[in-house]
Symmetry: C2
Subunit: 378 residues, 2 copies
């Protein structure tokens, strides 16, 4: 496909797959797209292992790495706060109460900071620099940042290693700030996306950003993200000014994904209405599969979610226990189980391998293009 | 353009323009699309006048009428509740306080039911039947319902007069209910739409509904709505399974529109981020241009908006006064002024006539189609 994304990344089909699962990364790259390994929460040691595995299995195909590095990053090392913040008793009790209503025992849940230490470290200078160092030791073909303008170190490393730098944006103004900073690819993500997301929908944000770049004569290529789970949506986004697509949710139900099987089944059955944009998982708005867990946090009288990263100390230990019990067949836990997913879940109705998803995207893309031409009688 | 919508409605270009302004209706129909006159809040006498004016100016081009008729409608006449509900003092005071902060005097605002009598009447059997009767006396080519499954009377009148019946839907399941009820056209409206709207984004909802219809072998044509303000978005929606587009917001900034000029200027300057989906205007979630008025209702500690139709008795008199003062140059009122608009406002950056908008849509549609073909190197 003749897209600047294909040229820049050396891939056949400009479909990028964000995934925490190395098998998905490998499968998508082998099928002609590009897997992007989500490494934000990993320790440097673990990232090294995972990338080595990918290198050994991907047959030389290009792949990328996605991190969450704050712009305030200076590369000079500023240690995390010495005293870890605490989870208030109200929030612990509220979580325990939801679990209790579904016969899940909240005893023994560890809401302490250590649980999320790697992620916390990675958000600070030292940790982020270590992850970047590991990533650039491998033959990555893309480095992506999911949090604001990438720090200069990331941009510099990209330039030195001839690796394009991508950045996620949810508004027109953030997109303009990113191109001013010098990113090579914009991932323009609408509010229907799974995980952390803004409010502007993909249908509007993509043409809005494309028009804003046109107006300043900028040609940074755009990957559309948010709600995209089919080739026809990818084609639609490209008709509006994108040069390819970046998808996360659609891989969660693939055979390769390590998604909780209970959640996989829920996702395959869900409609687009079955997600909610809520602060209840991380403290910032993120889109998730609705379950009695998310409903309880959205209900009248629920405590206000804590700021990041405290809310994760409430939700993660609870939801990890829920996942474990649900996989063992615990009915209450099965009801509560949830995970991040976008509205595109309404279009994810069939269990497929990641390679099959890429193939389905290609065929659906062509069919959409033919459908559009058909309106002109051609 | 070869679309079942063009064939069914006898129009050249399957772009429908919802507008409360008769001049917009006429201009769009004359330019090859179809104007749909929003008549939900009018008295039968006023509707008669407006449609007579349209008939006299539209040169025989097809046009439609949009109503809000509840399904519970029986055609047998059930009078509105005898005792009109009252606006609580807290809400009156909160509105007055916002106005006061912007030097707008709230004295003399009439929060009584009479203000909204026509709209209230039209939501009941007698009133709705009278409006339908007026509409079908004119050579309309489409009747649309913006509230749930149309009542049998509307479907029957459509059949008798050979006028297609369209219905707005915001979810897949509502779409399936509508086709079971026998509507002729689905207006599939995403959450980025102005006015009352659901939560599922156009980018997901359009292919989700198209797939659901395919699965049951139904061929009801789809108009995509929600956030669409350009031809490239219309093409995108049609690549995903729609057969045309239904737009409301984009006409608000046209020369013909009777939009408050202050609000027009704000809309032309706004980005897609400058809207909010809020219950503060009608009691149900509707998308509006953000202003200190909507911000105040969204803020911590604001009273919860009243249920429909009570909240309108709070907001409409206040915002009508704001409109009037702002047009006279009152700075506080100019700051507060707002109106319903979708996220597509971020793409409405140039003052045009309605006919120019239709022409721009056509050109942009073709360009989008060419862009998409270009990725295949054709």
């Amino acid at each position: 496909m003749q897209s600047p994304i294909s040229t820049l990344l050396g891939i056949e089909f400009p479909l990028l797959a964000f995934s925490h699962c190395r098998d998905v990364v490998v499968a998508v790259s082998k099928a002609g797209g590009m897997g992007v390994f989500g490494a934000a929460a990993l320790s440097p040691e673990r990232l090294e292992e995972e990338l080595a595995w990918i290198d050994a299995h991907i047959a030389g195909r290009p792949y990328g790495v996605d991190l969450i590095v704050p712009n305030s990053f200076s590369g000079k090392g500023e240690a995390p706060a010495a005293t870890a913040p605490q989870v208030p008793e109200t929030h612990r009790q509220f979580a325990a109460q939801i679990l209790g209503q579904f016969d899940v025992d909240a005893a023994g849940l560890d809401h302490a900071m250590s649980e999320r230490q790697s992620f916390g470290d990675n958000m600070h200078d030292e940790g982020a620099a270590r992850l970047l160092e590991v990533a650039f030791r491998h033959p990555i073909r893309l480095i992506a940042n999911a949090l604001g303008v990438p720090p200069q170190l990331m941009l510099d490393l990209g330039k030195t290693h001839d690796v394009p730098v991508a950045a996620l944006v949810g508004t027109r103004d953030h997109a303009l700030a990113q191109v001013r900073a010098g990113v090579d690819i914009l991932v323009v993500a609408g509010g229907e996306a799974g995980g952390h997301c803004g409010e502007v929908a993909t249908m509007v944000l993509v043409p809005e950003v494309a028009a804003a770049l046109d107006a300043i004569g900028d040609t940074t290529p755009i990957l559309a993200a948010g709600g995209i789970a089919t080739g026809r949506q990818m084609a639609a986004a490209m008709a509006m000014g994108a040069h390819g697509a970046w998808c996360g949710s659609v891989w969660l139900t693939t055979a390769e994904a390590e998604t909780n099987p209970v959640v996989k089944e829920k996702m395959l059955a869900a409609s687009a209405r079955d997600t909610v944009r809520s602060k209840s998982r991380t403290g910032k708005p993120s889109r998730q599969l609705r379950s009695p867990w998310t409903d309880a946090w959205e209900a009248e009288g629920a405590p206000r979610p804590l700021p990041m990263p405290l809310q994760s100390l409430v939700s993660e230990p609870a939801l990890r226990k829920v996942d474990k019990l649900s996989e063992g067949g615990h009915e209450g836990a099965k009801a509560l189980a949830t995970y991040w997913v976008g509205q595109g879940v309404g279009l994810m109705n069939e269990a497929m391998s990641a390679g099959q998803v890429v193939q389905a995207f290609k065929e659906d893309w062509i069919a959409a293009c033919e459908r559009l031409n058909g309106f002109l009688g051609e």
